[in-house]
């Protein structure tokens, strides 16, 4: 038809053609990256539950950029930059994912829902049977955060952004999201995306690191049978209540996360089966789905591409590698202290990421010795890792707030 340019009909291509070369390349790259995430998720290299919605969201949002009013480019998914009340209310009526972002994402609700679901999966009895060893390993597994924080400042990040990025060393996705929302809201999207991408890689990458640092003879050490008595549900509930109140008293800024986590533990132990089924299935997997989808949609080239992303990529991987090395060093210390009876691979499970790292540890140990069962010990360290990474994030947030960071 006369008067209509062909690109007016296909606005995704039109906006691509009208973009600056940097954004043009970025959109193509992010579309390809999204497709790669779907592939790797489907193949089991990355966590499928998160990567498939995230990958499709990322690929689609970068394809679906169109011209809005006054020639401005945007999407009909969500606008993370809407800040004033009028803007937010307007976007709520236009963008279909804006309600999820505004009411569940930017206030940390979705992180707390995921934590609540994780809490229902945690059997704190594993920690309560061997609290000192588990906590010791978990403390060693936080070394990545310790290293990454000053490294981020050395690489030019402001202190708040460096601290938020360093929490990737705790290997706890909801924690990274929550900490970055509080400490560095302006770059919480790239921090969280980088964090989740790397956490997805732990399942495939950590076994190589373990094999590199622990000889096969030590990987195959069978742990002696447990002589500790079983922990009752009542004892676990008492622990959850005491820990929740105590940690919230110390760090009110992280109290939502503590409450969500320990509420999940109490729901699990209290025998409230309807709540247990709801939170461990629908809520956990529903929140994980929308977390992945919204994270993917937030990866629009105009929003996410800035020079700090490269720094985040470097700091994130260093944080996770150092945390893994720290955990394994802790495992080695227990190995020597116990006179060679403790399997040092258990240390890797202290890098939180519950229960992935515990399963990675058991998988590697089983490959070396089919009869060695270390999963209960690994789960104890992994659950302790959740507590220490939440505590470390809370300490960092409180410290930086106190010092004006």
């Amino acid at each position: 038809m006369p008067g209509i340019h062909i690109l007016d009909l296909f606005q995704g291509i039109a906006t691509l053609a009208a973009s600056e070369p940097f954004i043009f390349t970025g959109r193509i790259f992010l579309m390809m990256l999204g497709l790669l995430l779907i592939y790797l998720g489907q193949r089991g290299v990355l966590e499928a539950l998160l990567m498939i919605p995230m990958g499709l969201g990322m690929a689609t949002v970068n394809a679906a950029v169109l011209f809005l009013r006054a020639g401005k480019m945007g999407t009909l998914f969500l606008d993370p930059l809407a800040s004033t009340t009028d803007d937010v209310v307007t976007q709520l009526q236009i963008n279909w994912l804006q309600p999820i972002y505004t009411f569940a994402f930017s206030n940390g609700l979705i992180a707390c829902l995921v934590f609540l679901g994780i809490g229902t999966l945690l059997d704190v009895g594993y920690v309560m049977q061997r609290p000192f060893r588990s906590m010791f390993l978990a403390i060693c597994g936080e070394i990545g955060t310790l290293v990454a924080f000053p490294l981020g400042v050395a690489m030019g990040l402001p202190v708040n952004e460096a601290a938020a990025t360093a929490t990737i060393g705790g290997a706890d996705g909801p924690m990274v999201l929550f900490a970055s929302l509080i400490l560095a809201p302006e770059i919480f999207v790239p921090i969280t995306v980088v964090g989740y991408l790397y956490l997805g890689l732990t399942y495939g990458g950590y076994p190589y690191l373990i094999k590199l640092l622990v000889p096969k003879k030590l990987r195959g050490i069978a742990m002696p049978p447990d002589t500790t008595r079983p922990i009752s549900a009542g004892e676990k509930m008492v622990f959850a209540v005491v820990a929740c109140v105590l940690l919230s008293l110390l760090f009110p800024v992280a109290a939502p996360l503590f409450l969500a986590l320990f509420l999940g533990v109490i729901v699990r132990e209290s025998g409230l089966n309807y709540f247990y089924d709801l939170f461990s299935n629908q809520i956990l997997y529903g929140a994980t789905f929308f977390l992945g989808l919204v994270l993917g949609v937030l990866c629009e080239a105009n929003t996410i591409l800035n020079p700090t992303v490269l720094i985040l990529l470097v700091i994130g991987i260093i944080a996770l590698i150092f945390s893994a090395i720290g955990g394994l060093i802790g495992g080695y210390i227990l190995y020597f202290v116990s006179g060679g009876k403790y399997n040092p691979v258990i240390g890797i499970a202290a890098v939180s990421c519950v229960p992935t790292t515990a399963k990675v540890a058991q998988k590697v140990v089983s490959a070396a010795n089919n009869n060695a069962i270390i999963l209960p010990h690994a789960l104890g360290a992994s659950i302790s890792g959740v507590i220490t990474s939440a505590t470390f994030a809370a300490v960092l947030i409180s410290l930086l707030r106190a010092t004006g960071g």
Partner: protein
Amino acid sequence: MTQTVGTTIGQAVFSYLLMAVIACICAVIIRLIVIVLARTQKRAPIVAPPLTVSAKTAADDPAAIAAVIAAAVHAALGGHRLVSFTEALPQPTWAHEIRSRHHTSHMPHR
């Protein structure tokens, strides 16, 4: 806010040590809870009833039983290797369900 790397190292070490102290306190609290509640939950020892011995020879086929158990485990959990068959004891059953969930949590297509 910008600050020197030296100051940040100091903050990082301080935060790490504070986290370690709190984790140790958590471990002590856990131990105390376990010790205190164990004392309050002590029960009278359970006396086993006297055994009744049957005059009949037990019709038992361990190989068939093992095959049935292996098939049931495979149906419930998928392709896992059975390490051993032992008599079911009451102590570790509290952990069975969550172990099963951990084993299968990375099978989203089940």
